[in-house]
Symmetry: C2
DNA sequence: CGTATGCTTGAATCACGTCAACTGATGTGG
DNA sequence: CCACATCAGTTGACGTGATTCAAGCATACG
């Protein structure tokens, strides 16, 4: 299930959301990352209801926060995490987990033990507040997801969803790309957008024919970024991306 | 727009979510509440994009966090706040506001200036973490709203929504009631559940005829709480209510 | 090989949205 | 006081976006 690697082999990237952590704080943080784990796709990393004594820094892959549906046949994704994201950092103050954490694609994480983190943060109000901010950005994204899945129709909804993935992956890799190998299935997209896989399939076809983007074999290609943003009414402000005008 | 009251007239209730704040911390916090404001229903308290130097403690009324829709004709509610909730506490670390804050019903708030709060929190890691937790409970509720509006059908969705209101108002007033005067309109419910006002009206009729609850003139009556919870697949764990088994 | 998983498409159905008309309550100004 | 406007709620008729059920087709895998 999980593959433990040697401490010295951890590749510590300061890209994506963790870039909000100032360099001199980052130096205090990295020694805490002593364990590395790898999960194959479609595996549960943490289950809801459980108590966590650690959080994860996502090094590679895509991880979803997932809430099982009442019927228990499928589940709903309420958030996606990309490389450079702190996964379950909110479990540090809250301990109890209210949702599942699932590796959507093969994923690699670094483990941060809460007691070690506590020792560092207890003496460092400033960094403490930065990490607080990181969890609040998650909250901002949650709000956007609630809005998107409540107020937008299928076509615009998926367009907005891909715009977000594009923007976040761009921030995570620090290069603008026209195509990404993300390896998520249409069923995953359905879980994230609150639609059926069948309808997702049809919307994807519409997006392709409209010249926005195309996705096949887990390979997302942005054909016309401006058009995609327009169709999805996309405004990345809610992402608080590092480097954008809105500071943390 | 806002009515400023005298400092000594503020009625400080330690009910609802602020009950998570320990009594000895509460004593440090209350001196910060020096100003009281009252807003009539349907008024904007803070607009998105603006920078906040204060947060609000909701003393009475119902306040919504609202994101304008692309068409700009209506807006979507992504959260509701009740008495005892910290409104916009997340603006303390984040400063920038990504959504509007609107008084849904006539509301009274107490103002907490961020610089005063900072002085208290800088020397108090423990309370700092409690307030961090409070914002994370908001995030948990956001996740639930995303799930609810993505995965549940109209009938169950509204049932779940009312179950939440019931549970939170109960926690806010510390008495189990069969009816509440909440004063929200069917259009408000529509904005919160991602439905049209017309369809909300029909669902409310179904809920009434099913013997769950009835709402008229902003007056919510719980007819059969167990039935309501069943219909809405309601499990209050995500609310982290004070006094429940899941501690902060 | 056979079986599982993901993608694609069609046809039928349904939940929900849209448009519109009507009611009742409240409020305002002449 | 009445005429008029406004807003919340209610209901009907109709249209459509989305789900459901189903079949077919790939590719991957033990």
């Amino acid at each position: 299930m999980s593959d433990t690697g040697h401490p010295h082999r951890i590749q510590l990237i300061r890209q994506g959301m963790v870039k909000h952590v100032a360099p001199h704080h980052w130096e205090e943080l990295t020694p805490l990352l002593q364990e590395q784990r790898t999960y194959p796709s479609n595996t549960v990393i943490s289950t809801r209801g459980s108590t966590l004594d650690h959080s994860l820094l996502l090094l590679d892959g895509i991880v979803a926060r997932s809430i099982p549906r009442p019927d228990n046949e499928r589940s709903t994704f309420v958030a996606l995490q990309f490389r450079g994201d702190f996964v379950d950092l909110h479990a540090f103050p809250l301990k109890q987990l209210d949702h599942d954490v699932v590796a959507v694609t093969p994923s690699t994480v670094a483990v941060v033990q809460h007691d070690a983190l506590k020792k560092v943060l207890d003496g460092n109000i400033e960094m403490s507040r930065t990490l607080w901010s990181l969890t609040l950005v998650d909250a901002s994204i949650h709000r956007h997801w609630a809005m998107r899945n409540s107020a937008m129709r299928g076509f615009a909804r998926v367009a907005n969803f891909f715009s977000e993935i594009d923007a976040r992956l761009c921030a995570a890799t620090e290069t603008y790309q026209d195509s990404y190998t993300i390896g998520i299935t249409q069923t995953d997209i359905a879980d994230a957008t609150g639609m059926t896989p069948v309808h997702v399939n049809r919307v994807l076809k519409d997006l392709r024919e409209d010249g926005c983007c195309s996705i096949s074999n887990g390979h997302l290609q942005i054909i016309d970024r401006d058009r995609l943003h327009m169709r999805g009414d996309f405004d990345p402000a809610y992402l608080y991306l590092p480097g954008s005008e809105a500071p943390l």
